[in-house]
Amino acid sequence: MAVLDILTLPDERLRQVSQSVTRFDAELRAFVADLEETRLAGPAAVGIAAPQVGRFERIVIVDVSGKKGVANHGHLVLVNPEITHWEGFEVGREGCLSVPDFTGNVIRATRIRLAARDPHGAELQFEMEGFEARAVQHEMDHLDGLLFVDRVVSRRTDLFQRKVYQKGGPTR
C-alpha cells in the first residue's frame, strides 16, 4: 500500500485519454488499493481517477456514502465505466485534487445509468442520481483527459438554453 503522487494542473498528462483495462489481475487490485489510500490521504475527496496518479487506464473510485442524506451505492470501484443513459441536468459546485485552490460551478446530468466492471472483471450496472451521479461524471471526465475547469459555467449562465447535456465537454 502506498499513497501515490497526484498530478496537478497544468500537467499535460492530465489531458491524456486513458486506455481500457484488459487484465483483471492481482496487480490491478493492488493498484486500486493504492488509489483508494491516495484518495483518503487528501482533503475529503469523494472520488479519484487512475490518471490523476499517472496511470492512464479507465479506473475510478467513487464513494459519497460519507455525505449526510445523499443517495448512494457505497464504495464503488469502477473499471472501464460507461454511461449508457443520462437525463436531466443541474449545476453544482466542484473542486478537484488535481486543481488545488479552485472551485467552480459545473453542469452535470442529474440521473445516469452506468455499466462497468469490478476489479475482478465482473459486470456491474447502476442507476444513480444527484451527488453520486455527479461524482461519477467528474471522475469519468478524467479518463477522457477532461477536468471540471473545462466545464465551469458562470453563475449567470442561462441554464434553460442548454436542454441537452453535452458529452465530451467543450470543443478544444
Binding site: 475529503a44 453544482g92 459546485r93 466542484e94 478537484c96 451527488f131 461524482a135 471540471f148 453563475r155 449567470r156
Partner: protein, 168 residues
Amino acid sequence: MLTLVGEDRPGIVAKVTQALYQAGCSLGEASMIRLGGSFTIMMMVSGPQTPEGLTQVLAPAVDELGLRLHIDPVTGGLHRHLVPNVQVRVTGADRAGIVAEVTGALAAAGFNILELESDVAGDPQRPVYIMSIQGYSEQTVEALQQAVAGLGAEGITVDVSAVETLIG
C-alpha cells in the same frame, strides 16, 4: 485593487490588460461584469509601480475609452479562497430595502457573504428583484432558514440551501 468603470464597448479589457502587461504588471483575481449597460471591472494587480505610476501607465487607455479609474493599495493576496457552504436565493416584487433586510438577517446569524449578484427582471411596470448569495456559515441551513423566516411576510421569497462542493 484596480477598479475601472465606464460606458461599455468591445475591447476595453484587451486595451487595459495590454497596457498593464507592457508595464510589467501581473493580474490575479478579477471580476468584470456589465451592470446596467456600464462596463465594470475590479482586478488584483501586482507590479513595480506606485499607485501614481500605475495611473500613468493606464492614462492613455483610460482617456481613450472614457473610463474612470480607482486604485486602492491592498494587503490581500492570492490563494485565500473560502468555499461557500450555503446558497441563498431571493425573489420578490422590487422595492427598496430587500437587500438590507435579507443581508441584515443573515449578518445577525453570523453568515459571511462571499458572492452576491442581483438583477431586476420582469416588465418595467412590475419589476421583480432577484438576488443570489453564496456564503459561509457555521450555522445549519435550518437555523439560517429560521433567521430569514420573518421576511416572507415582507413579500419576498428567501430560499436557503446547502452548497455541497464535490471534491474529486
